[in-house]
Amino acid sequence: MAVTVRIPTQLRSLSGDAAEVEVEAATVAEALKALEDKHPGFGERLFDEKGELRRFVNVFVADEDIRFMQGIDTALAAGTTVSIVPAVAGG
């Protein structure tokens, strides 16, 4: 099913400056894999050498942090927005 991935400013050089990329995916993991397939380079930026999401990369599904759901196995409904957001300091 089609979902939208929101790309942060820091990674838009990989998506040809696009702020959003449409991909076909049923889980977050599939969405990020599809992003890599469409725009090579995303994979190594988002995942470390062990294949884990880098610890300063936050991923949200419809405004909820995936760490409160099933992590990268979180299921996606059609039309869902997946956002990649850098961590921000305190206030």
Binding site: R6, P8, T9, Q10, L11, S13, A19, R45, R54, R55, F56, V57, N58, F60, D63, D65, R67, F68, S83, V85, P86, A87, V88, A89, G90, G91
Partner: protein, 422 residues
Amino acid sequence: MSPVTDATAVESKTVLGLRCRECGREFEVAPIYTCEWCFGPLEVAYDYDAIGRITSRERIAAGPASLWRYADLLPVASNPSVDLGTGFTPLVRADRLAAELGLGEVLIKNDTRNPTNSFKDRVVTIALSKALEFGFKVAACASTGNLANSVAAHAAHAGLRSYVFIPSNLEQGKVVTTSVYGGNVVAIEGNYDDVNRLCAELAGIYEWAFVNVNMRPFYAEGSKTLAFETAEQLGWQVPDHVVVPAASGSLLTKIQKGFQELHRVGLLDEEPNVRVSGAQALGCSPIATAFIEESDTIRPVKPDTIAKSLAIGNPADGYFALDAVRKSGGGFSSVTDGEIVEGMELLARTEGIFAETAGGVTIATLQKLAAAGVIRADERVVVYITGHGLKTIEAVAATSGPTATIAPNLDAFHAAFDIEDH
């Protein structure tokens, strides 16, 4: 001219650039905050030998009675440019508190004594001074309250427009003391982590100086001045142990860095060996939990605590704070809302200092770690009290009121108070 273009013109002779704390990649000085490779936080990289040649204890002593006396160790080229007189706050001996807790020497770094009554003035004076260097016209922040106060005030003083974003459930005291400065105050229907996420996205759209987003590498450096002042006020000595409240973990990390930098530039004779302990509220304790569980993973939480200024469920500098505490041999603890209120009352009753809920967290943690033997009676302990109690008056309003309400005559007084010792 865009702010980013201006950035390359702003190079201080002691600043080498920005460096990723995670992977070490280096970047030019600019209003950027995350490594474009691994998303790790960027930090200012200094030429410490160059600073060492410029700075001295005498030069600092001859400086202003504010944090700007440490300008040689700060990433700002022209200073002070946005200054309300922040810093050089009192370091107060707390003998009565120490006696109550069975400790030896305890000192309170009373950072309620800043222009907007919290330590956030330290980071904001640096961030907005840097923002002017970059050419920004609008100041902004995501805030749990104290930062909002400070950004609104400093922006007013500097003639900058401001947008501050806060969770809509903040204490009235913090909303009023932000809105009064006349900037835009945007209350978000969500918690701080929601506010933060929105601001990370807004920062990608608007060319504003978000003090804790795109100005963060410079902003965070302001917290080091708490360590600089502590050492200078102790006669260029470091304490044995410090107790620091933790929300994002940035303050704790930077206090430890501050002590190390003083030695690196020759202002301390010996390498500092300061044990660093962290304090969190039980209702938002992702870093303390990782410490206690001896885990290397910090799991985000949904905050539920009266210590709203510490209510960050997804702490950006949590890993660095955890590392600093572990390597220094300190402890990390969390305390209940009831203990927070008792901590506020204990500090007020024994030392005459009224701290906000975050201060209650810090004092209650001091008490807990002292009882556990982590903080020892043979140590000189400095406790960081980072915000004023008037900001969170709701926390103690139910338990603090008149001792008696009486008619205006002697009989009524004598009836209410049986005073033997005239």
